[in-house]
């Protein structure tokens, strides 16, 4: 016997209710509203089906009519029914918006938010006593709308809006004051808005609400956190006789019996602490916060899901907090939650990120993860359905492997290989860009490996994928792919380097060196630096395809203005300068090429840099070019001198940086070793000069002296017309003095 389906029954009932909503009789309309409210409350499926039937615009229409019909001079009975209709229609609309984004959208599209605000609050609030129910219903509904991200932005800059907000906050009703607080939590985003609200004195009222009902307390905590978030100025202005009281009040609430309240209180304190670290420094409070959040993880609902995110914001980037958390077994507790399995994706993500933060700086946390075998669970999460979870798992792996000691221990065990590499390589192809970037981060750490196990990564096609990603339109992906390649090439064996280079190609490398993004340029140069290090034949890579890579390096050095790029570029040239004579000469050619409108070689600018790392790199290049064991060094020294480079190096003899000073000392000794070989030509007398100068010296043009000088110096000859036998010779070096 065919019977009607459940959904068909639903539709029939639904249509029936909607029909009665259009009734001219208020009683019928009111009854239909109540039935509708009861149908949809807490029932997402019913909300959706009524939505499709057009319930929201219908109810919004009813509300609008009812508000217009309000007439205090009319009889009490009508008044009561109209008021009830307003209350029920507001409740229905609020219910549609509660935790149901499609409902929020429909309510906003119908303009119901403005309707409720105007109808229930703006107009009715002055008539508080009789219309408290209306005001309350309106406030409750609006609060639900404002819990959604889609709710309209409240404009605090409008004076009347601020006044209205203050009137909400000052209202006795917990729903109304709660609405005021919700509006702040939802809409206050900028530091200007935070300041405006602070200056309007909302904090005083919010603080008093901390002692109110549960709804008021929770709403107030959220709002206080919103006003202080990332705003040290507002927090510092908070200093006053009231501060201690408010802070103590919130600290007490951390022990509240309701989990959500404990979470909100903790978040509030974290926000204050992060904005202005001078507050809440006491170890006791810090430990209390940590323990509170770790306990809140036990809550099975949304509070437990969010607790780990709060924990992360408490400890992120703060080694002292991470240490405290470690001491109360934070790693173990997070691991215990991970082990439970079948976690809600939001909770899973939060715990992974919390572990990532725990392991971001401390070796003890990483070791604990290793010994607890946390990594196995983290690696499993790399294949999770949720991209947020996959991303969080990658971040956890990246964090844990941010330590050469850890990586070494990984390599010493056998975990390193396929277990961890395979799923990570797979994620390089993920549909989500965020996951790809996170995977690249983890990979770039784990490929810093000093055994032959890098070949596992290459064998699994990792290099091909990295190279592909280095051509991405997304600069973040290009950057992170290059980081991974750079680390992969560090101290790599010849065969590994060759495979990588063949995949990359000289032309791609050259174009990455000239990438529009400076950070990409930097990584490309760092990659080349590693590429040409190692066995001496590695230097040849930079000369592939007619030396386009070397040309690109030289070009970047001449135009770059960022120290990090200049440092990497100088080390590339410095490394190449440790090769054969032809390599050194090629470096010289690059260094002596002038940039447009520049009178001097770029290396002079680097030698004078404020950044000691750059000065060091530049001196190393000079050192390598004038290495005493190389036959062409003396010739290169002359050219460097003529370019003014040698004198700049000499001026650095008292450099404030020890490393630079020591390299300069070695350089000077090296320069002088060439001068020492000159000193054997004893027929000449020299003056010691500190700078380029001119010396009149009588030289017998027929003697061999000039010839021998010319072998070591370039000099300009000016014939003195008056004394034909005298030539003015420019001496360009510090040379040992014989006599003056």
């Amino acid at each position: 016997m065919p019977t009607t389906t459940a959904s068909a029954v639903c539709t029939t009932v639904g249509n029936n209710i909607l029909l009665r909503l259009t009734s001219g009789e208020r009683d019928v309309k009111l009854k239909a509203l109540r039935e509708l409210k009861n149908q949809i409350i807490g029932n997402r499926t019913k909300k959706l089906s009524f939505l499709k039937l057009g319930a929201v615009p219908a109810v919004a229409g009813i509300l609008s009519d009812a508000v217009s019909a309000v007439d205090v001079a009319d009889n009490d009975e009508n008044d009561r029914i109209v008021k009830d209709i307003i209350v029920q229609s507001a409740a229905v609309l609020g219910s549609f918006a509660c935790g149901f984004e499609a409902g929020v959208r429909a309510v906003l599209d119908a303009g119901a938010d403005i309707l409720i605000q105007r109808g229930c609050l703006v107009e009715e609030m002055p008539l508080l006593k009789s219309y408290m129910e209306v005001v309350d219903a309106g406030a409750r509904s609006l609060k639900m709308i404002y819990q959604s991200k889609m709710a309209p932005k409240y404009d605090f800059l409008q004076e009347e809006n601020m006044e209205f907000l203050l009137s909400l906050l000052n209202n006795e009703s917990e729903n109304v004051s709660g609405l005021g607080a919700s509006i702040i939590s939802h809409s206050c985003k900028t530091s200007l808005e935070q300041k405006l609200l602070f200056d309007a004195g909302v904090l005083k009222r919010l603080t008093s609400l901390l002692g109110g009902s549960l709804i008021q307390r929770d709403a107030s905590l959220e709002s206080i956190a919103t006003i202080f978030k990332n705003n040290p100025e507002v927090v510092s202005q908070f200093v006053g006789p009231d501060t201690g009281r408010t802070l103590s009040c919130i600290i007490e609430i951390v022990k509240d019996r309701f989990a959500r309240t404990r979470l909100l209180a903790s978040l509030c304190l974290i926000v204050i602490r992060n904005a202005s670290p001078c507050y809440l420094q006491d170890v006791g409070i810090k430990t209390k916060l940590i323990n509170n959040l770790l306990e809140l993880l036990d809550d099975p609902g949304r509070v437990g899901d969010e607790a780990s995110f709060a924990f992360s914001s408490l400890i992120a980037e703060k080694e002292d907090m991470q240490k405290l958390a470690f001491e109360v077994n934070g790693v173990d507790k997070l691991y215990n939650h991970l082990q439970k399995g079948s976690l809600h994706p939001r909770r899973f993500e939060g715990i992974l990120l919390a572990l990532a933060d725990m392991c971001s700086k401390l070796e003890c946390c990483r070791s604990r993860c290793l010994s607890l075998q946390v990594l196995k669970l983290v690696v499993d999460a790399l294949a999770h359905d949720s991209s947020d979870v996959r991303s969080a798992a990658c971040m956890c792996l990246r964090s844990v492997s941010r330590s050469i000691k850890f990586i070494q221990n990984l390599s010493a065990g056998s975990f390193m290989n396929e277990t961890i590499v395979i799923p990570l390589v797979r994620l390089l192809d993920d549909t989500s860009t965020a996951v790809q970037v996170a995977a690249l981060g983890a990979i770039s750490n784990i490929v810093v490996d000093f055994t032959t196990r890098r070949s596992t990564f290459i064998r699994l096609g990792g290099v091909k994928l990295l190279v592909q990603l280095s051509k991405s339109m997304d600069s973040t992906i290009r950057l992170n792919a290059l980081r991974a390649l750079r680390n992969l090439i560090f101290l790599a064996e010849d065969k590994c380097k060759e495979e990588i280079f063949m995949e990359l190609t000289a032309s791609l490398l050259a174009s990455l060196i000239c990438d529009p993004e400076p950070s990409v340029q930097e990584q490309a140069l760092a990659l080349v630096r590693n590429l040409v290090d190692g066995r001496i034949n590695s230097v040849e890579y930079i000369f592939a395809e007619d030396g386009i890579i070397l040309d690109a390096v030289g070009r970047q050095l001449r135009i770059a203005s960022k120290a990090e790029i200049e440092i990497q570029g100088m080390y590339v040239l410095g490394n190449v300068a440790t090769g054969k004579e032809s390599h050194k000469e090629a470096v010289m050619d690059q260094l002596l090429l002038r940039a447009e409108n520049k009178a001097q070689s770029c290396i002079i600018k680097f030698l004078q840099s404020n950044d000691s790392r750059l000065r060091t790199a530049a001196v190393w290049a000079v050192l390598n070019l004038t290495c005493s064991s190389s036959p062409g060094s003396s010739g290169r020294l002359v050219k460097l001198h003529d370019a003014g480079i040698v004198s700049h190096v000499k001026n650095m003899v008292n450099d404030p940086c020890l490393d630079v000073k020591l390299r300069v000392k070695t350089a000077l000794e090296q320069f002088n070793s060439f001068d020492d070989s000159l000193a054997s030509t004893s027929c000449l007398q020299f003056l010691t000069v500190r700078a380029v100068g001119e010396l009149s010296h009588v030289v017998d043009p027929s003697s061999k002296e000039e010839e021998s000088i010319a072998n070591y110096f370039r000099f300009s000859m000016k014939k003195n017309k008056k004394k034909k036998s005298t030539r003015t010779v420019k001496f360009c070096f510090d040379v040992p003095a014989d006599s003056l």
Binding site: R398, K405, F490, I536
Partner: protein
Amino acid sequence: MPVRVAESSAPSQVSGAHSEESSPPICSLLTVGQAFSGTQNVSNLQKEEAWRVNVRIQGCDLEHGYLCGTMEALNVPMADTPVVTFWEGEIVDAKNYTFYTGKWEATPEDDIRHWTKFPSFAPLLSRVEADGGKSLDLSNYPYIFMRWKEQYFVNVGTDCGLTIAGFYYVCFSCSDGSINGFYYDPNSSPFQKLELKCANEGRSGFSFSSYELQ
């Protein structure tokens, strides 16, 4: 370097006493990737012996006074292949570590006895005896003092007949990258010397590479 187990006839001396590369290195010759080569004297009363040694720096975390790398011993008589170990270093920076070891069976007297074998330690002695060197500013001193402790064998088993129970007192010269060290192990011959020079591995000059842990 691993030494032979319990072969020494010298009386055992029992008594009581990371990348991340955010700040510039103290010395560019003590950075990741740098190689050093030289010898380790492993002589005892019975015979003179020295092993050729290669060291490479793999990790450097100045903020935490941490260093690590590998050590490879060649021509080890009882081994078929070179023996490679992984070591970790403590940099004496008066912040993370002082001149006093405080572990590994090394007493303060052992510490002073070893550090004073480095000529470059002489100017620091009085301050170290006073407070372990905590008040010293070593950031501009052209020598870096470290302790290197081998953690495990990389390519051989622990039954290879060699021990890595002790540790090295190390002095590194910032100007030329030379390394001197003395091995300390109560059960081995005292003052076995490690002497290394910065190796440029066939290049004319010094080449530098780097990595960055995210």
